[in-house]
Amino acid sequence: MTGVDYSTAPQLAILLSGILLYAVAAVFAAMFHRHKSALAAVYPICIIAAAVTAGASLAALLADTHSGFRLPLGLPIIGLHVKLDALSAFFSLIVNLGVLTTAIYGMGLDRDRDLSGRVEPFFPAYALAMNLVLIAGDAFGFLFSWELMSLTSWVLVVSHHRDAGNRHAGHVYLVMAAIGTASLLFAFGGLAGASGNYAFDAIRAVPPGPLVSGLVLAGAIFGAGSKAGIAPLHAWLPLAHPAAPSHVSALMSGVMTKVAIYGLIRIVFDLLGTPVWWWALPFLLLGAATAVLGLLYAVLDHDLKRVLAYSTVENIGIIFVGLGMALAFRASGLTAAAAVAMAATLLHCLNHSWFKSLLFLGAGAVLHATGRRDFDGLGGLIHRMPVTAAFWLVGAMSISALPPFNGFVSEWLLFQAVLAGPQFPEPILRFMSPAVGAMLALAAALAAACFVRAFGIVYLGRPRSNEAAGAHETARPQQVAMALLAGLCLLGGLFGGVMVSAIQPLLQTLAGAPLPAVGTGPTPFSLVAFDAARSIYDAPTITIFLLISGTLTVMLVHRISSRRTRLGPAWDCGFPDPSPLTQYSASSFSQPLRRVYGSTVFGASETVDMPQPGDNRAARFTVRLHDYAWELLYAAPARAVLKMSERLNALQFLTIRTYLMLMFSALIVLLLIAAVWF
């Protein structure tokens, strides 16, 4: 971030032209929102814009560009700063790859059923807003674009506004977005300090004092964390992300949360000055709690898209832990370990944007084919939608951090960083890092359970509803979009070493040092964390080993068992009942986990209503779960506000004299305070 020269690099110029193309697409779609044939052009324009912007940001990332200029717009005196550095370029790559694939998916959407004139104008506007956040060079531009991003995505969330649930989701989202932005506003206010210069370069030049920086940190974690979905501010994600059309859900969950992380990195690692070790504590604590809690929610939920949204909460937890580790290492002067943690964080941002987009697009395909998102109405889709099922499996394996896919690379790097924890000079951090590591391990195991459950219930077994039985494969553009993302997941897993060497300059600026031993591995594709002797992940070798051992196992099993393919009834737990209800269900799968964690974390209670012998009514089994985060942090304040406003309602019916009296007493009290104070 040093040595910023205000010239316009060619990468920035190309990037801006791509961003301009988004604006053109948005305006075009808004003008012709009644012409279906014209609207068909919106997604292709978005694809071109995303490709141009992604290419420019990749070039900027590789060249470690520092470029920017100032426009005479925005706030007076300060103006509007536009800047592009490696950090912006990295996140711009995430955003625009996400937009690229979701726009391809959007091309295949059914214009009459899935889309309306309400979606197309706002999709490019949303992409535009996210890009603007990344290239903003001052607090005003940042917050303005941030709000634009919230508002455009809010419009997309309520695009199916006839559903009362969606309207509720939109309401909660809007409230959370407003509170989050207000909090960020205070954070930037603290950063600008008494000088009141909101340009990032000016803020960077004058770091705030210890008290103010603590407040700024709190404001940034609250503001950006609520947008990213950190617990306990996550409650809007499982409402709003599923309510949007699926390709927008993919953007919101896979990409917008990363823009929030960008904001956090920008403030904490760039603008806030030299880190102090205790800054890491909120990140580590919140991150570890979020990771486990998000997955416990996910593993108990019954709605495909909600499960994915909760899983996003978990991944944000992982990213927070990575940020916390990077901060702690950097503050302790262990720059090599900081670089490992930061590399893990950045790669996880990129990887999560890929596999979460893939999973949401797959969920969208299922939703389109069956019209259902609830686990109790799905099943057996692997026979009806084999392509979607295959790609979804790739996504599920990636998110469960299984090699050779990309999720493993970033989580492996993060565990390497956690294992370096004993080097911390502060005892609190030394004590915390293994605890956080254990929580992460639990989260990883729960993630695998969650996605085994989701894949098994949705794609395997027999259909649980007529809609699922009559499902059909999704359209070609959707398949292309998912294939692209699945390919990225595989490539990201195989070439983690290459990707890490591409972000070395970025690691140098954020962590204070590049990765120490890149390129020292036995093959050019090896990923080396600290040194080639003890921490090395050689993805291609492991992939070949997995392929060979897997093939051998399959051959061996077929050799030992009978080679004949037998067709028989599906296993039904011994009950020869043709009803699909006799299958293992989503609730049955999660029951053990619910019994272990549910009673403490969710206050779960099970009641069995068993009829007396002779009574022929059906027995009922009911499970009750409490969402404490919602009840305590959302419902309770909302109730308090309502109650207070009801009380204050009486103030509307006072006499004129009483109003005057109130004003007079307020004045007198203020005068008294002034008289005593000064």
Partner: protein
């Protein structure tokens, strides 16, 4: 130069006495007369300022205060009361004794506050400001301790007197603002007049409690 301060303090002090008299008085015509006296005192105080500070434009303010508040408004209100035939005594919500005690407390509060806060300013501004604040607070007190709409008008305008006294004392409030203040008083008079007529038309009374009945308010 000292007698300049003495005279302006005397006039401001007399205005406060008038404010207390307004609080004490329970007959409408007497209230109007005292208000007119206060406005004349105000115009004298402003005129004195204009003379001693060599700021001739303040004479306009003094003339406005004298003409508008000293003569036209009291006479208009006087005629209105005669024409409406309303009761000539005033319902007081708080008893006179208590009101005067509260008024004393308010006056001492404003003296304490202003003298303390403006310890570094020059002495005339400080004391003039303290007296003006006391007049403002007493006007406000008059508005909330009386039920009669006409005394509310008078209380409001007495408050306005305090504002103008403060403005002229504070060295160089531009004339534009003074004119606008005068006009706002005039507009307030219109509003209140309409208001009074409306009340009477409907309820044959200018007791503002009647307004509260029609809104269905609790008292």
């Amino acid at each position: 130069m000292n007698h300049a301060y003495d005279v302006s303090h005397l006039l401001a002090g007399l205005m406060i006495v008038a404010s207390f008299a307004l609080l004490y008085q329970d007959r409408i015509f007497a209230v109007l007369n005292i208000f007119a006296a206060q406005a004349i005192l105000l115009s004298m105080a402003v005129g004195w300022e204009a003379w001693t500070q060599q700021r001739p434009h303040l004479f306009i303010t003094a003339a406005l205060a004298l003409g508008l508040k000293g003569i036209i408004i009291p006479v208009a209100l006087h005629k209105m009361i005669v024409r409406l035939g309303v009761h000539r005594d005033i319902d007081q919500v708080v008893g006179v004794g208590k009101t005067l005690l509260i008024g004393l407390a308010l006056t001492s509060l404003s003296l304490m506050l202003v003298l303390k806060v403006t310890a570094t300013a020059e002495s005339f501004t400080r004391e003039g400001l303290a007296l003006a604040l006391a007049i403002i607070l007493l006007g406000f007190l008059m508005m909330i301790t009386r039920r009669n709409a006409i005394t509310q008008i008078v209380g409001f305008m007495s408050l306005e007197n305090g504002l103008i006294l403060a403005a002229t004392g504070a060295r160089g409030m531009p004339l534009v603002v003074e004119v606008s203040v005068a006009f706002s008083v005039l507009i307030a008079l219109f509003v209140f007049a309409v208001f009074v007529f409306r009340i009477r038309e409907r309820f044959d009374s200018v007791d503002i409690e009647a307004l509260e009945d029609v809104r269905g308010d609790t008292k």
